[in-house]
């Protein structure tokens, strides 16, 4: 494939080229990926501090450790905590 013909290809990271231009999956499908998706879904529904999420998180910490998605899940939960004190914030 000639990626140089695509406007944003120059300067793009290998990850972007693989995913956005070559159609690769960001993650290898499988049990751990499913577990990660389930955990993220709980966080997105405001249930990141619940028992189910905590159990999944413990398993994920053991399996993929300092994964970027886990860090962003933490950031999302922290953001929700901080914003909940603002008037009108209900999520």
């Amino acid at each position: 494939m000639l990626v140089e013909n695509v406007p944003f290809a120059q300067g793009a990271s290998g990850e972007r080229i693989l995913i956005e231009l070559m159609g690769a999956n960001e993650r290898v499908p499988g049990e751990v990926t499913k577990k990660l998706n389930d955990y993220i879904a709980l966080v997105d529904h405001g249930e990141g501090e619940g028992a189910a999420a905590k159990a999944l998180r413990a398993e994920l910490d053991a399996e993929i450790g300092a994964d970027e998605r886990l860090r962003h899940a933490d950031l999302e939960m922290e953001k929700r905590r901080l914003l909940s004190k603002f008037a009108g914030a209900s999520k």
Binding site: G23, N25, D44, E78, K79
Partner: protein, 261 residues
Amino acid sequence: MKHVRSLSSEPPLLAKYRANPAAGAQRPETAAAEVWARFRKREPDAYRELVEELARRQQGLCVYCEQRLVDEQGVLVRERYQVEHVVPKTAAIGLVLDWTNLALACWGTVSSGTDKSCGAAKGNRRLPDGCEPRAIPLLKPLLDVGTNGKLIVNHVNCGLAGVVPDQIETTIEILNLDSDRIRKPRQDAGDAIREKVAELMQALAAANVAEAQQQQAFEELIANRLCPNAAGSIASFWSAERSALGPPAEIWISGNQGLFQ
């Protein structure tokens, strides 16, 4: 996918062309592709007027996936856009040059031609009733963007809008909007916002400012991210930023609806 403004009136050069019987606006559906190709070839000024007006109304984004189709000055980027017939032009006589049926979309694919999305994935299918971007509400969005960039159907808001959630799921599937090619940059857009929020909150906490000032600073961040730029364009994957900013973003949008309607 979010609410998108439709054209407010028919572009004058399109109206003039369509009024000419030679344009073939009322030819059978089977001739729609030919009628459209002739319009594009013979009326470059009318086509240019049409796409520029669509880009302005859509604030520079693809009608479906929210990829940016314009540069910082609001000028359309070559080979990044195409006119989309929301109801397929072959579905009925007259749709091919009907200005109310036209929107601006991305190419929906890259050079390999695989992993299609948006109009390229939709092809000649119709979206479920009430699910096309121009019909869905600006406030109380029917779709949220998850932390991993995936679209999440908001069942509560669907109920308020009288839209069946399954039909929104079907729309996502038809347009292939959760393709990794689109989901990943949507995820990146949300990630960037979460980082900015965290940085801001840490700075405010370190400065020990009052809660009211914290809220004001956060509202300024929201306005900075969601407001159209000087050229009238909004950020690529705007809905991902909106979701990442959370409920305060909904309050800000509600108070600034005029910027988006």
